[in-house]
Amino acid sequence: MVEDRSNLGDLRVGVALLLRVIMRYQGVVAISILGAMIWMAMILSIPYLVGTIIDLVVTRSGMSEVWPLLGLLLIAGSIQAVGISLRRFFGFKLSYRAEADLRNDIFTHIQRMAFSFHDVTSTGALMARASSDLSQLRLILAMTPITVANLVMFFVVTAVLIVIDPVLGLTASLMVPALLYTSGRFAGRVVGFSFDLQERLSQLSHVVEETVAGIEVVKSYGQEAHQQRRLDREAETIYDAAIGMAKQRAIHRPLFEIIPALGTVAVLAVGGIRVLDGAMTFGEFVAFMQYLAVMVLPLLITGWFFANLPRAAAAAARIDELLSTAPDIQEPDHPERLRSGPGEVRFNHVSFAYPDGTAVLSDVNLTIPGGTSVGLVGATGAGKSTIAHLIPRFYDVSSGSITIDGVDVRELSLDELRHEVSVVFQESYLFSASIAENIRVGDPMASDDSVRSAARLAKAHDFICGFPDGYETVVGERGSTLSGGQRQRVSLARGVVRDPRVLILDDATSSVDAIVEAEIQTALAQVMAGRTTVIIAHRTSTLALVDNVAFIEDGALVAFGPHDELLATVPRYAAVLAAQVIV
């Protein structure tokens, strides 16, 4: 699955993704490179002009000849400004556009990935893909056009220098390979540390996330010190990685300045002597010095680019891995339409194990006649929720099949299937949005009236109206500002606001009191009438309400029939529920 670790082998994948991105935004890249080229051309012509002016000064040719050249210098300066502007703006455009588009791709992809993927992938890892990894990518993309121009520039400058004076030119251009070599070496040394750092940063963020999410547990067990130790440990390892990197920086970075300076010394010594020998003019000498000065920054940028490329490529590789992981639950190529029918749900020899190998269901055969209701009963961990999750295809069966009105759920389009099967989860997850918006997740088209009647049905209307903002009350993350029972009722309303063929209620009233539960049951009777309903519950009152009960033990269906009948004939069934009868 997706991990934060990457090895150098992935780099090729990452670079490939970068190239694809660049190809996708060809136009923008082209303009930015064009801007960079203009900039470069002007940067090169400026030292030439300066050199020419100096020659005029040395020969005391008089200011009248200098002025036009100064005019040209200003023109070159203006054109250069235009070049920079184009380069920068379109470079940014490329990088931000690519970042935003990829982030959309990642988000859409995450939304499509099946439960099995999310079961084992941490929120933090996915967040990192769509934030810090993308930033790495963006930085390198922003620098790509200028680096292309720089590489061209090195060739041109070297050629120009050699043309002006072959001996001096060759001497001076030695600094190009020297600098590129140094930055390459630096990159190689630093890349390991930076992977490490990235990894450790995400470890740290994981500790913080968990502490924040579980703060009540931390506080009630007084484990602040324990969490603090975990965090300090992570912070120390971050320190180690950062210092390891700093060491490499301290060794290599100064060279990025020293090497060009050595070039200047070479020009001074060799060039000075050649001027004395009359092999070159003084103006040419000054131009040389200027060329060297002008090349330093582009060389540094190029060095930076190659130093950061591995890191960005690794990030790109991680993103690529995520985007190219196909969801376990695939749309059929040629989906069948659901036939009109009462909503019969049938399990044929269904066995199921979670991807990690935990076998849960074995050879379950179960037919829920259309329009009837069934209660799933079984001990904690028997596999009730699992059965419920298989019907809307949150997971695919390992063997056997599940059909709705005779059509295998794997033959249906997911959209249609999940429109027809509505689930109220055991855990009432709410979004930090208004209560009305939360209910409308069940059916975005629902009118205010249907939102209200769903809330009434779930016995949520009264308490919602008790809030100052009523249905517009914004709830905290995961619904944290509501009480457990309130949360559960909003989630129930969300499940019943649509009009599904099959309704699944997974322990949907476990946190409400007996009176409210009884009221909900009465209301549910209307909803259930003529609708296939699967209810997971332990309350006898609920079980008395359903047409049949399926009793699950150790992942197998051991009994099926009306509640009274099972109570009378299946001792284990009575045992699992019995506790409630013996008051």
Binding site: M63, L70, Q80, A81, S85, F89, F92, A100, N104, Q111, F115, S122, T123, L126, M127, L201, L204, S205, T211, V212, A213, E216, V218, G222, Q228, A235, E236, I238, I243, A246, L255, A261, T264, I273, V275, L276, F285, G357, T380, A382, S385, F425, Y429, F431, F463, P468, V474, T481, S483, G485, S510, S511, V512, D513, V516, E517, T540, L577, A578, V581
Partner: protein, 591 residues
């Protein structure tokens, strides 16, 4: 609802105050920091000597026709470069040592503060925002420490040094250059204002992007169940696009500013050349001076441009600092007051709420003058409609919140007078949804005491009758529970949370619907274990299944934040019509 008013912000407008405060955080690093600055200073001076040597080489060597001097100048320059290498490397290294050490401190301090804040703060704040204080905010400081700090320092020194050098070499040319720089400063001020506004917006919008991203991930199952993938994606697309636009606004600012700077640089070069050329031709200046001046000029503008770049890093570092200090300034509501004392051992376990009123949001009273008493070793059940305030009572007993009026006492001592340490040791809460940390089953059960032996863990499991279940897991106690315990069914998660509390062994235990997802058989079994484990302990049980109430010594019935009935189960059935109704409905449900 008061909502979204996350960790208050600090004034970014006063960088001085911010930096002073940042410095106070780690006084022991001041000296190393001063040393690092000194070394950087030396490195910069060495760097500035270079052009002077070159001037000598040109004037005394090339112009005067003296080969010796040329070679000598080259040799001296090379020597200087050697020194510069050492000084530069040292400066990088020292700044990193100080900076990274500082960050370790900062992470630790901020995290410690975060954990001291109260439940109210947490329910007001978005968890993503809190996490970002510890991650992206500190990372932007890290970025500044590793890239920005040395650059800021050495470039500032360079600019000052070169300005002096320019003046020394030739003050007339220097004046012309300074005039251009004055224009540059004005232009930069305009740019900075524009950029700051843009970056503020960028920061705000990235926050929204991340918050939505996080909900898109944590709520993905709900999204899929209701086929809202496309709707979510398109909402996200819009938020994301707004972030893109904010970035492009910043990009536009940068895209005019840097070209203008580059142009001004050429103007400065042109004016220096114009003045220099005529002076050399006049004979009032040597050619070597002109060349040296031009070299310095290169070194003048590049650092200014660098500083402009660093300024952005600095801005976000300062903004990050401001947010961190905003968090540090959050009042610690639940804290040991001066003179707080420990509960007298052994803790007897008498709990009392005395006329307690409480509201989460001003104006919405959740508890209204609640008084109730739990004797030592007694088992009290709290029943009432959903949303009537039962969990709130539990949270007040745990001192997650302090009451607005009235007091909560343990063994007669107001919770606010008792040290946190002693309170925590005495009390345990098992909440509605037992939060599990990712890690192994063992780590979760032995959460309160990581040194607990396997034997004591197994003892608890055995007492609860779930040792067989744990043994049946392929990896037993080493099973990874995954994020929020996702590896387990809801009932299994509750069992783990119960085991965790039993191992903790408190004097007072509060169970807030801690068994709601268990099947009746398992629940009875756990109840049995409870009775053994809780013998002699005070327990407060919140449950909708009235069986728990029947088994309790006394029952308190809450309605809309008020106590409406207290007594034994049988008494209440007699005396309270509301309770009788509840019981009847419930019994109908279980028969």
């Amino acid at each position: 609802m008061k909502y979204m008013s996350s960790a208050g912000e600090y004034n970014v407008e006063k960088p001085g105050t911010l930096i002073a405060r940042a410095a106070r955080l780690a006084p022991e690093l001041r000296r190393p920091f001063a040393a690092a600055v000194a070394v950087t200073f030396v490195a910069t001076i060495i760097r500035l000597l270079g052009p002077l040597v070159i001037r000598e080489g040109i004037d005394g060597g090339i112009v005067a026709g003296d080969r010796q001097t040329i070679l000598l100048a080259a040799a001296v320059y090379i020597g200087l470069l050697g020194l510069q290498y050492i000084a530069d490397g040292l400066s990088q290294w020292m700044v990193a040592l100080v900076g990274e050490r500082y960050l370790v401190r900062l992470r630790s301090v901020v995290f410690a503060k975060l954990m001291r804040l109260d439940a109210g703060f947490y329910s007001r704040s978005k968890s993503g925002v809190l996490v970002s204080r510890m991650t992206s905010d500190i990372e932007s400081l890290q970025e500044f420490a590793s890239d920005g700090a040395v650059m800021a320092l050495s470039n500032t020194l360079t600019v000052v040094g070169v300005a002096v050098a320019l003046g020394v070499v030739d003050w007339q040319m220097a004046l012309a250059v300074f005039a251009v720089v004055a224009v540059l400063v004005g232009v930069s001020a305009v740019f900075q204002r524009q950029a700051r506004r843009a970056y503020d917006q960028v920061r705000e919008r990235i926050g929204r992007v991340l918050a939505m991203l996080q909900e898109g991930i944590t709520g993905v199952r709900v999204v899929q169940a209701f086929t809202q993938e496309q709707a979510q994606a398109s909402t996200f697309g819009r938020v994301n696009e707004r972030y893109f636009e904010a970035n492009m606004a910043a990009a536009r600012a940068i895209s005019w500013y840097f070209p203008v700077v580059a142009f001004l640089r050429v103007v400065a070069l042109g004016s220096a050349l114009a003045i220099g050329a005529s002076r050399v031709m006049d004979g009032t200046m040597t050619i070597g001076t002109l060349v040296a001046f031009l070299l310095y000029l290169e070194w003048f503008f590049q650092p200014i441009i660098n500083l402009s770049n660093v300024y952005n890093l600095l801005q976000s570092a300062l903004a990050a600092l401001a947010k961190l200090f905003g968090l540090m300034d959050e009042p610690v509501v639940i804290d040991d007051r001066p003179g707080a004392y420990d509960l007298t051992e052994p803790v007897v376990g008498a709990v009392e709420l005395d006329a307690v009123s409480f509201s989460y949001d001003p104006g919405t009273l959740v508890l209204d003058g609640v008084s109730l008493k739990v004797g030592a070793g007694e088992r009290l059940a709290i029943v009432g409609e959903t949303g009537s305030g039962k969990s709130t009572i539990a949270k007040l007993i745990m001192r997650f919140y302090d009451p607005d009026a009235g007091r909560v006492t343990v063994d007669g001592d107001d919770l606010r007078d008792i040290t946190e340490r002693s309170r925590v040791d005495a009390l345990a809460l098992i909440p509605q949804d037992g939060f599990l940390f990712s890690g192994t089953l063992r780590e979760n059960i032995a959460y309160s005491d990581s040194s607990a032996s396997d034997e004591s863990v197994w003892n608890v499991l055995r007492a609860m009758g779930i040792d067989d279940w744990v043994r049946s897991l392929p990896e037993g106690l080493d099973t990874e529970v995954r994020e929020r315990g996702g590896r387990f069914s809801a009932g299994e998660r509750q069992l783990v949370a119960l085991a965790r509390a039993f191992l903790f062994d408190p004097s007072i235990i509060v169970l807030d619907e801690a068994t709601s997802n268990l099947d009746p058989e398992t629940e009875v079994q756990v109840e049995g274990a409870l009775r053994v484990l809780l013998a002699g302990r005070t327990s407060i049980v919140i449950a909708h299944r009235l069986r728990s109430a029947e088994r309790s010594d006394r029952v308190v019935m809450i309605d809309a934040g008020r106590v409406i009935a207290v007594g034994t189960h049988t008494e209440l059935v007699e005396s309270s019509p509301r309770y009788r109704e509840l019981v009847e409905v419930w019994q109908r449900g279980t028969k």
